[in-house]
Each structure stands twice: as C-alpha cells, then as structure tokens.
C-alpha cells in the first residue's frame, strides 16, 4: 500500500533531515547541542564539538542574547508604569459604564470584563504590585461568570512575577489574543466611551490582548453568547470556520449483490418491511453520490480485501434488520458491568460488530472479552500453520488453536494507566494509549504486542482507529494530536494548535478529517490532507472528554467536564444544540445507527437519550450563520427522551449495535 501523504504537507517535522538540511537550521541545532553540553558541564565534549563545527563563542553569545530578548519581550507585554491603585477604579468605571448601557448592549459588552480582569490582574502581578493584585482579584473575581472560576482559580495561584514564566495558562494569555465578537453598535458604544474618558491603560489592554470581531447585525442575546462562550481565549473569529469541509460520506464500493438476492429469497414474505428499509436515507446515501463528500482518492485508503467485502455485506444485512428509533420507540439498553474492578477500569471500547469488548485498567493491563458465545482463540504456531490446507474453505477456522479458547484474554505491556482503547474495524488489531506516553498495537489473532509507537512523551489521553483502518489518531498531554499509520513508527501528521491538553480525538466517518477536543475548552476539526485546522468550535465550559460524529458525517457531538453535551453543525461550525441534564462528567457519547438518537453517559451513573431528530427538525438551516446573532442553539429540556440510572456504575462506554440496541459498560463501585 503506497501512502505518501507526508509529501508537501504543512506538518511539523520532528526528524531533522540530515542529508540536505539547510545550513541555518543545522547551525541552530548545533548551538542547541552546545548549550546542552554547557549546561551539563561536559566541557571536553563541548570543546571538541566547537572545534569540529568551527563555532565561536560569539555565536553562542548572540544566540543566548536572542533567547533572553525573546523571553523578555514576551514578559514585557505586561510592562506598564501606571499607578497600581488606578486599575481598580478603571475596572469599576468600565463596569458601571456597561451597567448603564441599554440592555441589548449590556450583555454583549459585559463579555469584555473577563479578559480585562485577567489582563489587569496579570499586569499588576507583573509590576510587583502583589498586594494590589490580591485586592483587585478578591474584589472582582466573583463578578465573573461561573464557568470561568476554574480558570480563575488557576490564575489566582500566580502571585508573583517569578511564577509567570513557564505557566501554561499565562503563556496562552500572553501570546494570544482573547477573541470577542460583538455587534457594531455595541462596539461603537464601547469605543466612544473609552475615547471620551481617555482611559489609556484600558485602551492598551484592549489593543494588546483583545481581538474584537465586529459583525453587522443585531446584538446577540444572553443565551446566544453563553452558548458559544467558554473557550480559554474566548470565541472564534469569523474567518476561522470559512474553509469548506467535505462532511459527506464516501461512496461505498459496490457490494456483492448476491447477498441481497439470497435474503430476498429467504424473507420473501416480508416484502413491505423491505420497502421500508430501502427508503432508509442512510442506506440510500451510500449508493448515491453525496455532493458534500470528498473525492474518493483525497486521502489514500487501504484497499478492501475479500474479508472486508464479506464484512461489509454482513453489516449491510444487519443494518436492514435495524430497529427504527424515535421518541416513541426508545432503544433497549444492555449494560455490561465490570465487577471486582476496584475502580481500576479507565477505558473501554466495543468493536463495531459488538463481538469484542476491550477494557484498560489503571495498572496498565488490557483485557478483551468476547461478547458472543464464540470464544477468543489464538492463532496456531507457525509450524502448525504450515501443515494447514490453504485451499480449504474453512481455512479461517483452521488457523485457530482451539486449546487456547477462553472468554477473555489479558494483554500486558503498559506500565501506566491505559487511557484509551480502539479496536480496528476488521477486529484484527487493538490500539491502547497509556500514561507511560506510548501507544501500543496489539494483535487480536496472536494476542501479543506488535508495535509500540513512541512520540508523545507525556500521557496519551486518547487513540482512535480510522473507520477504514490503517490510520489512527492519538491525542496527548503534550497539546498535540498525531495521525499515524500502523506501518509507520513515526506520525504522519502532528496537529498543533490547541492551547492545552488534547483530551480526546475522533476520526470523521469519511476518514478525511479528525476532530479533537481539548482542555482549552475548544473542539477543532483538522484536515488530514494538509494538516490545517478547518473548524474551531466553542461552547464547552470545561475540558472536552469525548467526541462523536453523526453517522451522516455532518454533526459532531461532544461531552465534557462541564456536564453538558454540545452538538455542532460541521458545515458552518456553529453549535446546534446544548444538552443539559447530566450531573457528572460526560465520558461517552454515541449516535444511534440511523442518527435519530444520541446517547450519553458519564460519571453521574446515568445514560441519557436525546432526540436528535427533533434537534434537526428545529434547526434553522436557512439562517445566515456568518452573523452570530442569527444562530440559535437549541437547549430545550424536551430534547431529553430518557434517563436510565445504573446502580453506582460509571458509564465509560456506549455503543449502538448495527440493529440499534444500545450497549453500555462501566465499572461498578461498591458504595462506601
């Protein structure tokens, strides 16, 4: 399989190309090495290297200076000579001004208070006015919205200039601008006020640290603002989501029709039912060309083997027996409880055909269970395989060793908690990502570890196989998401852009895009082709812990530590619905196979079902989403169709079978 995507793409290169590198970057590398040697007092080596590379001390000096200059420049962002007591008055004055505004503008303008508060505080801290900073903080922190308190708590731990370097949160505030969106009317109000009063420190803060995206149209309402606010650095400016996204599904290769005929012959009497299932929009779409679908060859995909064809035919047949779900027909839920796990289960995954369930544990072990009566078997040893008749019809059956059959298999390899698992679509492989910074690929045929992918040096929070196999994406504490191919030991793409940990990732059903959710409270959609970020979606107020694409590829649902589930429309990047009801972190979201229902579950021991059909029916598709005030976010409580509580079992995984039976799983915690 020839995959050659790394050519001509704008990825960050991790490996220095040693052969034809540019001298400049080479020199930088050398200098870096020298610095390292100096730091660790390896004088002789340093000396030798210097001689060999003909680097003089002056070069080193300038490099050093440059470094300090840069860091100074970064920190000096907050340099100001203003009287520290002035800040309090300024902030209060701004608040009073906003309070005195008309109600329509008040809501929009009050969004400016949070970034100003943050930057004023940081300026005070930077200029060594610690007491003023403390007083300023304690006076106004409670005015900020509830969902900001988590960040504010982190901010408040910074109390002196020394703390400011190396703090991730502060780096973000310093280096990037806080994005606000407001209507032109509100903006002019604000501008007039600031100019009239000549509030110079305020003006500098706004100029230096804020980016106000002005739009023409009526000001937004409180609800609209709340629905999109929450990002670490505010909202998303209008240009971020302009790129076109091919969210349609790929055209399915023609399946072996004989399966259909066979079935027709067998179930001849059920003709009316068949007609119904043919109308199923999802099955229709596959045969038709979707205008929103990417070209088939946009991303090279692995070729389908005979096995895959068979698999797809089975899936298709199963899909025909699918139960139709709507608000009158709720699904049945089968719940798998882990007993005696001592709260050690950290991740689960269920294979697409619901035959395998994998669970990862805190101690680094991975266990795979069979959910069907057929046991898990190991492949025979090479010597035994040699004597098998390869032409036999049941060769796939013969290669397995019946003596090794068992209900579950243990995979040992990680030395840290296993945070995510993903079973490949053909059920031959299993990926696991762990606290130890590695991703491991396991074979589910020989039940051993095949590859250990090292790239994230920090915990890897999530890993997911592409729906077509071969590729997989991982997300980690190092603030990057990486795309890998199973046969490359280094990543094909590194998606950098999130301002904090990337906590979850998900492949688009057409395998052309990857969605990532982060602790910076945003969700990004990345293009596999060129590695660019094509969508930034806000709305979550805390860490995003799970993401799932709708089966038609157009919608994305995310759940997080703010106990809310948000549904976005990928065509515009705008939030469509906000589903509130959970009382604990949402760890799992799953669309039903026909996309009519959304199931969510998490730390509050409940599975909730939401009416996706209603969300789509009530979505205003004609509205011009370029004007934020036209976007409405559905947060009606009537979207909740059902709540099913477990007996003290956290819900870690949800999965709809091909026939739309909902499977949930999680560990039981004995009440203490």
């Amino acid at each position: 399989m020839a995959v050659n995507i790394s050519e001509g793409s704008m990825i960050i290169k991790t490996e220095p190309d040693s052969d034809d590198s540019i001298p400049k970057s080479d020199k930088q590398t050398l200098l870096a090495v020298l610095q390292f040697l100096k730091k660790h007092n390896l004088k002789e080596t340093e000396h030798l290297l210097k001689q060999e590379a003909k680097v003089t001390d002056d070069d080193l000096k300038t490099e050093d200076d440059k470094k300090t200059e840069v860091s100074q420049a970064l920190a000096a962002v907050y340099k100001s000579d203003d009287d520290p007591s002035l800040y309090e008055d300024l902030y209060r004055d701004l608040k009073n001004f906003i309070d005195s505004c008309l109600d329509v503008h008040k809501v929009e303008l009050s969004t400016i208070l949070y970034p100003i508060f943050v930057h004023m505080y940081l300026e005070l801290v930077y200029n060594d006015h610690e007491w003023n900073a403390a007083a300023f903080y304690s006076k106004f922190w409670q005015d900020q919205e509830e969902h900001r308190h988590e960040d504010l708590a982190k901010l408040s731990s910074v109390r002196s200039k020394e703390h400011m370097s190396g703090n991730q949160l502060l780096e973000n505030f310093k280096t990037s601008k806080f994005v606000l969106r407001m209507s032109r009317d509100s903006y002019t109000h604000l501008k007039r006020h600031l100019q009239e009063k000549r509030l110079s420190p305020l003006l500098t803060i706004i100029q230096d640290h804020l980016f106000i995206d002005v739009f023409d149209g009526v000001p937004r309402t409180q609800q609209q603002i709340l629905a999109t606010s929450g990002g670490l650095l505010g909202e998303v400016d209008k240009d971020a989501n302009k790129a076109k996204v091919f969210y349609g599904l790929l055209k399915e290769p023609d399946l072996n029709i004989q399966f259909d005929d066979e079935e027709e012959a067998a179930e001849g009497e059920e003709k009316p039912k068949k007609k119904k299932s043919k109308k199923d929009p999802l099955l229709m779409k596959k045969s038709k060309n979707d205008p929103n679908a990417p070209p088939l060859t946009r991303i090279p995909l692995p070729e389908l083997k005979d096995q895959d064809h068979r698999e797809r035919a089975i899936a298709y047949r199963e899909a025909k027996k699918r139960v139709k779900l709507d608000h009158n027909h709720l699904p049945s839920i089968c719940f798998y409880t882990f007993l005696n796990s001592y709260q050690g289960v950290t991740s689960v995954d269920i294979s697409d055909d619901t035959s395998l369930l994998a669970a990862g544990f805190t101690d680094g072990n991975v266990r795979v269970w069979s959910l069907t009566p057929s046991k898990l078997r190991e492949m025979k040893k090479p010597d035994d395989l040699d004597i098998i008749d390869k032409e036999a019809d049941d060769v796939m059956e013969r290669i397995f060793d019946d003596r090794s059959a068992s209900d579950n298999k243990l995979l040992v390899g990680h030395h840290g908690a296993v945070y995510a698992l993903s079973i490949s679509p053909d059920r031959a492989y299993l990926l696991s990502s762990s606290d130890d910074g590695s991703i491991r690929l396991w074979s589910l045929l020989v039940w051993t570890n095949l590859v250990c992918y090292k790239g994230h040096n920090y915990p890897v929070w999530d890993v997911k196989f592409s729906p077509y196999g071969y590729y997989f994406v991982s997300a980690g504490q190092d603030r990057t998401a990486r795309v890998w191919a199973t046969d490359h030991y280094q990543p094909l793409r590194i998606f950098a852009g999130h301002l904090a940990d990337v906590d979850c990732c998900q492949f688009h059903p057409n395998s052309n895009y990857v969605a990532t959710g982060s602790s910076d409270k945003t969700v990004r959609l990345w293009d596999m082709l060129n590695g660019s970020c094509v969508r930034i979606m806000t709305g979550h107020k805390s860490t995003v812990h799970c993401l799932q694409f709708s089966p038609d590829g157009r919608y994305l649902a995310g759940g997080g530590a703010d106990n809310v589930v948000v549904v976005w429309d990928l065509s515009t990047g705008a939030a469509v619905a906000q589903l509130k009801g959970h009382t604990g972190i949402v760890y799992s979201v799953c669309f039903s196979r026909d996309g009519a229902m959304l199931a969510t579950g998490g730390l509050d021991d409940s599975i909730r079902l939401w009416d996706m059909q209603k969300i789509l029916a009530e979505q205003d598709t004609e509205a011009d989403t370029s004007i934020p005030s036209n976007v409405t976010v559905n947060d009606s409580p009537s979207l909740l169709l059902g709540t099913y509580l477990t007996k003290n079992s956290t819900i870690l995984g949800l999965h709809f079978t091909r026939r739309n039976l909902l499977i949930g799983c999680g560990p039981y915690a004995a009440p203490t």
Binding site: A153, N328, L330, T337, Q343, L662
Partner: protein
C-alpha cells in the same frame, strides 16, 4: 476547586519553618520562609492541577496519591516513591542515602515460618463482566441489578409535578396524513395537552405483596410480623403502594381506637415506624394521614379495654417517639408540623377537663421533642398539672385509673425533667422556691433536681456522698377505692375485619420482643379494674349508625384494594377549628388535625362490663 476558590490560600511560613527544621535547616529567616511558602504553595497548586487532570482521565471521583505522583512525573520531578494510598491513611517514613530519598510505609516484621505454615490467603476475585438489561424498549425493568425504580427525589418530583403532561400516546399514534400538515399537527397536539389522570393500579404482585404484608403486620405470627416490618423498613420501591399502606394504618387506628384494641394499635404503630424508617420513600405527602394516626395513639383518652391493667402507656410513649421522629424529619417552615404538634400537646397539658391519660400522652409527646420544647411548653404548666394530680390524689373522687395515670405522669416527669431542670435552676434554690414555681409538684421537682445534682456531684467526687437520695415518688395517695360505673354499652357491629379480629390476644403484648416498648404491664395481676366514666356534657357520639359507614369502608377495602382506598375519605386535611369544648381533648386534637371522617372513633364506652373492682396498691 471550582466555585469556592479562595484567593491565595498558602502554606503558613510557620509550617515552612517546621518543615525546614525537620530536614535539618534551623533558623530560617522570616523573609526566606515567607518567600518559600509562597513559592511552594504555587508549585503545589500547579502539581495538584495536573493531578486533577489525571483523576478526570482515570474516570475517578477521588484524587489519589498515585495521581499526585504521576503529576510529578509529568512535571519532570522525581516522584516521592514508596507511599501509596492505603485507605486514606498514610503513615510513611523517610530514608535517605546515596543521594536518593525514599519514602516508605513502615511494615511489621514478618515471621517467615508463620507465613509458610499458614494456608494461602484467598485470592481476590478476578474482574468479571456481567450483563443485564438496563432498559427494555425505553422502560427500566425492576431487576436487582438496576437501582430502585424511583428515588426519593424522583418521587418528590412526581408528586409535586403540576405541569401538564402530554396527553398520552394517542395523538402521537395518529397516522400522519400529510407532511405539510406536520406543523399544524404539532399545534393541535399542544392544544390538547392534558394532565394524566393519576391511576393507581397495582400489579398483581404488588397486590399480593400488600396483602401479605398487612396480614403479617397485624397477624398473630410474630416471626412473620418481624419479617414484614423488615421489608417495610428496608425494601426500596414501595412508593407505589405507599397510599395503601398509609390508609391501612390510619383506618386501622381509627377503628381500633374505638375498639380499644391495644394490641392492634401497637402493631400498626410498629408498621408506621417501619415506614418512617424506610430511607427510600418520600413520605411528605402522606403526613396528613400519618400524623393524626400517630397522635391518636399518643393522646387518645382510652386505648385499651382495661386502662388500669393494660400497658397503654408504652404505646403512648412509642407513638410519642414517632411524633418526635416525624417532627425531626419532616418539620419545616412551610408545614410547621412541630409548632402545631407542640401547640396541641401543650393545650392538652393546660386543659382542666381532659383525661389524665391524654395528659400523660401529651407529656410524653412534649418530652420527646427535646429540652427546648420542655422548657418553653411544659415547665410553665407544671402548676396546672400539679393541681390536677393533687385533686386526683387528695380529691374525694374515688378513681383508681386516675391515680394510676397520675403516677405515670409523675414518672414521666421524672424521666424528662431532671436534665432540663439542671440547665434551668442552680443548686442554691430551695424547696420553697420550687413550690412557688411549680405548685403541688414543687417538692417532687426539687427532689429530682437535687438528686440529679447529687448524682452529678457523686460522679465528680466520690467522697461527696452525703445523703442517700430520697425516693422521688411520694406515695401520697390514699388507698384507692372501688368504683363501679356501668354504662349501657353500645353494641359494636361484628364484622369480619382484620382490625376487629380479637384473635391476637392481649397477652401477646407481653411477649413481644420490641425493645423500645416496655412490655410488662404496670398493672399487677390482681389489680382492680376501675371503669371510669367521666361526666361529659355531651352524649356519647358513638352510635351504631355513625359507626356503620366507617366499618363499611374497611370491609370494602378488604374486598377490592384498588377502588376503596383511593375513594376513601382519608385524604382530607383541614387544619383549623379549635378543639370543641365538649369534646375530649384527645378527640379534639384528632378532629382538628384530621377532620376527615366524623370523629366517631372516640367512643368512650368501655364495652366490657366489669364485674368487680378490687382495690390495692400501685406498684411502682
């Protein structure tokens, strides 16, 4: 650490100094310590923030030491090895050497021989996977793997929910004729939103359960009864049957109070107690039935056939505890249960013309409500109570029942008052002062007060034992006399109802193993039967005609569960109207709190025609 975050909580510089001394750096300058404390606090917070992430990804609700260790590792700091989370208690020690520092938990020396000789410890159970149906077509089946059908909050929500519910599935199932009409259809649907009629249907199993439980609760088999009470106390998911159980108890008390069937009243109270103890049911909406029921058992003028013999006092005490429990658990500013109950009780205490048994009950009720209530609602009326007792003891009316009651009242006072008196008076006060304050009961109160003082003193200094405390109960009463008063007893219709069934003999009270009920009757065998009929201005109300509807209700209840109970008149709560003067106080309280069915229950006629009354001493 979200909302209640405070600005700048930092380690104190004193702690820093102590820590520095513990690692051998003494005499740390103040300035250095404060700088260090600030910096260390900041670093610690950073690490905790990191550990918090690990907790979230570990899908846990509790932060563990391992999270902290891991966070240190992420920050490229050498983690503190050796101490792990051991039930939250971490006694760890510290050792250093060779440039490494290691923390470890101290472990005991183990005798290897013992280990070898011992049988192998049991291996902890392996992780297993268990499947069950969490929901079948959207309905959660009642399996042991699933939580109880409705939590307390949910029950509350359900009861308080006054919003309109969708008018069932009928409209939704109507065939959609035209897609264009869809919107219109929706509107139509909204227009006919109706609140669902609450249909209280019990499944066959539930009916069977109800029958079993109620029969065991009042039946003769003690073993079965305790099982039934156990079930009522601990089983979740009873809320469906709650209206029935409450009705059963309240109707049962109504009838058995009339019948003076002490045993059944006790059984019913135990049933109420079990219901009150059940943590999974939401009882608020049934208090209007339960409270009058329990109150009846506290203050009713007569609860047993032979008031001088039977230990109805224990029932009153038990019921009083139930009232106190209800007040503790359910009283709030809206329903004001405790205030209303207290008012009723204290009115009974103050009243001149209520039965002493009623006053006893009221006393018990107030006593159970705690020292504050005793202080404000009981102590001021001790005088009145004293006069009452005085008139009984010294009065000419020959009435041994009253005398027994008076004795019990005194004993009750002895039980509740000393603790309160201690806080109220000081030891310098004399008998006279007590006499002024409490009238007739003054000497007794003083003696119990001083006794309390002495016992306190005795415990503090053993030498200080001066006088043997005098017996607190004075036998000032005259030898009781025989009174025979017969009234034409109204015939009670004989109906086959569980409440009227006299089969559980009264003797069974004595053998019941209910710890909270003193089971020995105060009356000694051979004691007199004194049948009292107090002169009442009004004629007895309990006539057969009036009793009839009540009885009828019970019989229907027995025959068909689903109809009669919801149709019964027990749900009416009217809290108004002062006690009618001509009524007995017991009845007055009952009617004012309940005022549902007419107060036919307070038939004063003892149905037994006693033959002889023998006088004797009260044993104390």
């Amino acid at each position: 650490m979200a909302s209640e975050s405070r600005f700048g909580s930092i380690l104190s510089s004193e702690s820093i100094k102590v820590i520095s001394e513990s690692i051998g750096i003494s005499g740390l300058a103040d300035e250095a310590a404060s700088f260090l404390s600030e910096d260390i606090s900041y670093r610690l917070k950073l690490i905790v923030q990191e550990a918090e992430k690990l907790r979230q990804h570990g899908r846990r609700t509790k932060l563990t030491c391992l999270d902290f260790d891991q966070a240190l590792q992420i920050k490229n700091v050498e983690p503190i090895y050796g101490h792990t989370n051991k039930d939250g208690y971490i006694p760890f020690r510290h050792a250093s050497g060779g440039g490494r520092e290691i923390f470890f938990t101290e472990e005991k020396e183990v005798d290897l021989h013992a280990v070898v000789a011992d049988p192998l410890p049991k291996i902890p159970n392996d992780v297993t996977l268990k499947a069950h149906w969490l929901s079948i077509d959207g309905v959660q089946p009642a399996l042991p793997e699933n939580p109880p059908p409705a939590t307390k909050d949910l029950q509350k929500q359900e009861i308080l929910d006054t919003s309109l519910k969708s008018g069932g599935n009928r409209q939704l199932k109507r065939p959609h004729l035209d897609a264009n009409k869809h919107k219109h259809h929706n509107k139509h649907k909204e227009a006919v939103m109706l609140k669902n009629l609450a249909t209280h249907e019990l499944s066959v199993e539930q009916q069977y359960y109800y029958k079993e439980i109620t029969e065991s609760c009042v039946g003769p088999d003690e073993q079965k009864r305790s099982e039934a009470l156990q079930s009522l106390q601990f089983d979740p998911g009873l809320h469906q049957m709650l209206p029935r159980f409450v009705a059963f108890a309240s109707e049962g008390v109504k009838i058995n109070a009339v019948q003076n069937n002490l045993a059944l009243l006790i059984y019913l109270m135990r049933m109420v107690k079990s219901l009150l103890d059940n943590q999974t049911i939401y009882l608020d909406k049934y208090l209007h039935d339960l409270l009058p029921t329990v109150m009846t058992c506290v203050v009713s003028r007569q609860l047993c056939l032979r008031p001088d013999m039977d230990n109805h006092w224990a029932l009153r005490d038990f019921a009083a505890r139930l009232v106190a429990q209800i007040c503790r658990n359910y009283s709030n500013n809206t329903n004001n249960i405790q205030a209303r109950v207290t008012k009723k009780f204290s009115k009974a205490i103050q009243s001149e013309n209520v039965a002493l048994a009623t006053q006893y009950g009221a006393l018990a009720g107030l006593g159970e409500l705690g020292p504050e209530v005793i202080k404000s609602c009981l102590l001021p009326y001790i005088c009145i109570l004293g006069d009452r007792i005085k008139s009984v003891n010294e009065g000419t009316a020959l009435n041994s029942v009253d005398k027994i009651a008076a004795e019990h009242i005194k004993r009750q006072l002895l039980k509740y008052l000393p603790a309160v008196l201690k806080t109220f008076h000081n030891s310098t006060e004399t008998v006279d002062e007590f006499n002024v304050a409490y009238g007739y009961l003054g000497p007794m109160m003083f003696s119990m007060f001083s006794q309390k003082e002495k016992s306190l003193a005795a415990t503090t200094s053993a030498v200080h034992q001066l006088a043997v405390p005098r017996s607190t109960l004075q036998l000032t009463q005259r030898p009781p006399q025989i009174v025979i008063q017969q009234q034409p007893s109204t015939p009670v219709p004989l109906i086959s109802s569980p409440f009227l069934n006299p089969s559980p003999g009264l003797s069974s009270i004595n053998t019941r193993p209910l710890s909270s009920l003193p089971s020995t009757p105060t009356g000694v065998p051979g004691q007199k039967f004194v049948i009292v009929s107090q002169t009442r201005p009004s004629t007895p109300i309990g006539t057969p005609t009036q009793a009839a509807p009540l009885v009828k209700l019970v019989t229907t209840q027995q025959s068909s569960l689903t109809t009669s109970i919801s149709a019964g008149p027990q749900k009416i709560v009217v809290i108004q109207g002062g006690p009618k003067p001509e009524d007995s106080v017991g009845g007055g309280i009952r009617t004012t709190l309940l005022s549902g069915p007419p107060a036919t229950t307070f038939v004063q006629q003892p149905s037994t025609t006693t033959s002889s009354n023998i006088s004797g001493n009260d044993t104390l």
